[in-house]
Symmetry: C2
C-alpha cells in the first residue's frame, strides 16, 4: 500500500483500520516546548496536504492561509515563551461553513448565501480563537446543514460521498488536511461523516456547546471530528470552558485532557431502524466486533434478551421521521423567508422540505415533541441498566453518489443515510464514534452513546474500544 | 377632564382608572359583519390619532401606512365575504422594532443597526399576517431590548418614560394609536410599559410564542399589550396556533376568545424585591386593592402568614441580579461582534454591560442556571397552594426621565425599574397585567402570575380583577 508521509493510503478503497494512522496534534506539544517543532511548521505541513489533495477532495469552501500563518506564528511565540493559551494553542481547525467567522464568508452551501460575509464570529469560533487555535478554513456543508450535497469527495474513494452535512470537516480530517474540525448534527451530520472518513467524533449532549447565533432548532449540536480522541476532547472542552453551552444549558464538563480509557462492564447493543438498511458485510463486521467485546468481558444487552432494551428500541424506532419533522417545522419560517427573498437560491430539495413543513400544524409539532419527550423518559429509565449503548455509526461504508440526474427524481440521501444517528439526536444523548471497522476497503465507525451529560464517560469507553479492541476487517 | 373622541385624557397626569376607556378592536367585528364599519375605517381612525399624537409620543420607529391600507382593504373584502382569516383579521398592530419585518427596517433602537432592512418576517409577524392582522408599524424599543432609551414619551405625561424596552408598543396602545402591539420581555419589558401606559398585557410562559430568529436568550418572551383582555388574548392565541412556541416548547393553548373571568379562591401576594423600591402612595394603593380582594372573598397568602410563600419570596429575592447576569452572558458573543464591527454604534450602557459579561466564566453562568432552576422547583411546589399569585407590575407610576446629562454618570434605569418583573421572568411563569390603580394621575398595574403553562388561567383571573374589582385611586 502506497502511503504519503503521514500514513494516508493512496489507492482508493484500501482503508485498513489496523494500519491507518490518523493525523494528531496533541503529541506535538512537547516538541513545541523544546523547539524541535512549531505550530507554523505544523500548519505548513497541513497546507502541503491541502495543496496536494484539495483538487480532488474539495473539503474547503474558503481558506484563510495568511490569517492562519499569522495565528500560527503568534501561537509559536506563546509556546516559545512557555505561555500557551490552552492545550489546543496553535491547532489548525476547519470550521463548518454554517458557523459565522469574521474573516471568511459564511455561505452555508446555499446559492442564496453566495458571498455572504457577516464578519462576525460564532461563539464557538470566538472560543477557539481565545484558546489560541488557528482557524484555517471553512469546510463544505450540505446546503444549510440539510441533505443537498456540496462538491466534497470521500478521501478514501473520490467516487463516494464523505457524508454530510459536515462533509468538508469529515473529509478534511480524514484526508490529513487538519487534525480537527467543527461539525454540527441534527440527524447524523457529525457522526456519519466521521464514520465514512475514519475519524473519531463527539456529538455532545444537546446544548453542551454554545451554538451562538445558531440556536433556532431544538435538536442540533456543534461538535468536533478529529484524528484522535485526545484532540477531539481537548478542542471540545476548550470551547466549553470559554463559551459554555447553549442558552439555558450546562456546558460539557470533564477534564482538560481526554478521559482515560475505561472498559465498560455492560453495554446495551442498539440496532435502531438502521439495522434494516445495513448491508450484510457491515452486519457481519459489527457482529464480529460484538463477539470481541464479549470475549473481553463486556456484558451485552440486546433487544432479544433484555425486554427494557426492546422498549428503548421501540421508543426510537420512528426517530428518523420525528427528527426530520421537528426540524422541518423549526426551520419553516427561516426557510420561507429565504425562498421569498431568493426564489432561485435554495435547492429543490430544500423547497420540497419546506412544502412539507408548511403542511404541518402547531399541534402536529406538539405531538412530535411529546413523543420525543417520551423516548427521553424511557432512555432515562433504561440507560442506567448499562454503562452506555453501542451502535453502528452508519449503516455501512460511504455510498457512491454520482450526482443528481436531470429529469430523474432527486436521490433522497446523496450524502448517505443518517438512519443510525437519529436516535441519539432525539434522545439529546452524547455519542462518540471511533473507526473500528473496514468494510470493502472503506471505514465504518461504531458509536458509544451515554445518558445526557455523560459525554466524558462515553468518550472514555470509545477510547477503550479504539485502544484495546482489535478492529474488524470485512 | 377633556377627552378626545375615544376617551383619552388631554391633561397630563389626569389618568383615572375608573373612567379611562381603552381602545378595543374585538367589539367592532359585528359592525364589520353588518357593514356599518370596516377595517379600513378603523385603520384610518388609528392613523388620525397617530397624526395628532405621534409628534409628542414618538411611539413608532417606522410606519407602513400604504401597506397597512392595502392590508386593511383586503381584510375588509374578507369580512364582506364572510370569510375572515381569524378573529383578529384587520386588527392594526404595532410590532416592536426588535422583530424582523419584510416591509419595514429593523433598527432595534441601536445606531449600529441604522438602516438595517433584512426583508424577512419574524415567525410571529408571519403568523399575524396569516391571521389577517394589519402590520402598521415598528414600535420604538430601548436599544436591543436593553435599557438605553429611545425617544418615546409616556402618553399620560410626556415628561415621563413610557417604560421599556417595549416603549413604543406601550405608548402606542396607551395613546389609542393601535388596539394591540407586540412586545418582548427579559426583565420587565412587556409588563412594565403596560403598567406605565394603562394597558393590559400577557407575558406568556417562557417559550409559549415562537420568537423566530430571536432565540438567543433563555429568558425572553414575545407577548402582546392591548387595550383589552379580549384583543390581547385573541392576538396571542392566533399567533400560537400558526407559529407555535419556541423550538422545543409547547405553544400557548386555550380558547379562541379570551377565557371567561374567574374569581380566584386563593392568591399568593408577592412583594418581591420591588416592594422596597415602591413609593408609599403605590404601597397604600396596592394594600387597599388587596383589602378589596379580601372583601370579595379571596383568601390571600403572604410571606408573613404562610411560610412557603416566604420560601418563594426568598427564591426570587435576587432575581434581578440573576436575570441580568444570565442575559448578559447569553448576549455576550452577539454584543462583542457588534462592538467589534461598529465601535461607535452601541451605547455606553451596552458596552458597560458587555464588559461585565466578559468578566464572567462558564461556571459563573452554570451557578446562575442552578439558582434559577431551584427557584422554579420552589415555585412548582408552592404555586399550587393557591390559584395564582398577585403582585405589583411596577414599583410605582412611570418616573420622570429628563435624559442623560453630559459628564454625569448614566442613569441606571432611564425606562423605569423592572424590579417587579424579574421574578416572573426567572420562573418562566405567565403574567397578565391589568391597570387597577391610578397614583398621582398616572397608571399603575397589578399582575397575576400562574404556574408555567397556566396562561389562560392567569388571564381569566386578571379579567376578573378588571371587570369585578373597583380600581384604586391614590
Amino acid at each position: 500500500m502506497m502511503e504519503d508521509g503521514i500514513g494516508m493510503p493512496q489507492t482508493p478503497r484500501s482503508y485498513d483500520p489496523r494500519s491507518f494512522e490518523q493525523l494528531t496534534y496533541h503529541d506535538r506539544l512537547s516538541a513545541f516546548d523544546d523547539g524541535s517543532d512549531t505550530p507554523r511548521a505544523y500548519l505548513e505541513r497541513c497546507l502541503e496536504v491541502i495543496a496536494e489533495r484539495e483538487p480532488v477532495v474539495q473539503a474547503f469552501a474558503a481558506l484563510n492561509e495568511e490569517g492562519a500563518r499569522e495565528a500560527a506564528d503568534a501561537s509559536g511565540e506563546r509556546w516559545k515563551a512557555g505561555k500557551p493559551l490552552s492545550l489546543i494553542d496553535g491547532m489548525p481547525i476547519g470550521v463548518k461553513d454554517l458557523l459565522e467567522t469574521r474573516d471568511m464568508p459564511t455561505q452555508m452551501g446555499c446559492e442564496a448565501y453566495r458571498g455572504n460575509f457577516p464578519k462576525r464570529d460564532n461563539a464557538m469560533v470566538s472560543a477557539l480563537r481565545e484558546a489560541g487555535a488557528v482557524i484555517l478554513g471553512k469546510t463544505v456543508t450540505a446546503e444549510l446543514g440539510g441533505s443537498h450535497p456540496g462538491p466534497t469527495t470521500n478521501p478514501f474513494d473520490p467516487a463516494c460521498t464523505p457524508g454530510g452535512s459536515s462533509s468538508g470537516t469529515g473529509a478534511a480530517v480524514g484526508a490529513h488536511m487538519v487534525p480537527c474540525g467543527v461539525g454540527s448534527q441534527v440527524g447524523g451530520s457529525i457522526i456519519r461523516p466521521a464514520s465514512y472518513c475514519a475519524n473519531v467524533a463527539l456529538k455532545p449532549t444537546q446544548g453542551a456547546l454554545n451554538r451562538g447565533e445558531r440556536q433556532g432548532t431544538s435538536m442540533s449540536t456543534h461538535g468536533f471530528q478529529a484524528g484522535s480522541i485526545e484532540d477531539m476532547w481537548r478542542a471540545s472542552i476548550a470551547v466549553a470552558r470559554r463559551a459554555g453551552g447553549d442558552r439555558g444549558h450546562f456546558a460539557l464538563s470533564g477534564p482538560d485532557t481526554a478521559p482515560a480509557a475505561r472498559q465498560p462492564a455492560r453495554l446495551i447493543v442498539l440496532e435502531t431502524e438502521g439495522w434494516a438498511e445495513t448491508d450484510q458485510a457491515t452486519r457481519d463486521a459489527f457482529t464480529k466486533l460484538m463477539e470481541r467485546l464479549s470475549a473481553a468481558g463486556v456484558t451485552l444487552l440486546t433487544r432479544r434478551d433484555c425486554p427494557p432494551v426492546e422498549v428503548l428500541e421501540q421508543a426510537i424506532a420512528d426517530a428518523r421521521d420525528i427528527c426530520n419533522a421537528i426540524t422541518a417545522w423549526e426551520n419553516r419560517w427561516a426557510h420561507r423567508n429565504l425562498v421569498d427573498q431568493s426564489p432561485d437560491g435554495p435547492s429543490t430539495r430544500l423547497k420540497e422540505g419546506l412544502a412539507k413543513a408548511e403542511e404541518m400544524t402547531a399541534d402536529d409539532y406538539h405531538a412530535l415533541l411529546a413523543r420525543r419527550a417520551a423516548a427521553q423518559a424511557i432512555h432515562a429509565r433504561v440507560g442506567p441498566m448499562a454503562d452506555g449503548a453501542i451502535l453502528l455509526s452508519a449503516p455501512g461504508p460511504a455510498p457512491l453518489w454520482p450526482g443528481d440526474r436531470p429529469g430523474e427524481p432527486l436521490a433522497p440521501r446523496p450524502t448517505g443515510s443518517p438512519v443510525c444517528n437519529f436516535g441519539t439526536s432525539m434522545l439529546f444523548a452524547p455519542a462518540a464514534t471511533v473507526p473500528m471497522m473496514g468494510v470493502g476497503g472503506m471505514p465504518v465507525g461504531v458509536q458509544i452513546m451515554g445518558l445526557p451529560g455523560e459525554d466524558a464517560a462515553a468518550t472514555a469507553m470509545a477510547r477503550w474500544l479504539l485502544e484495546s479492541v482489535d478492529p474488524v476487517v470485512a
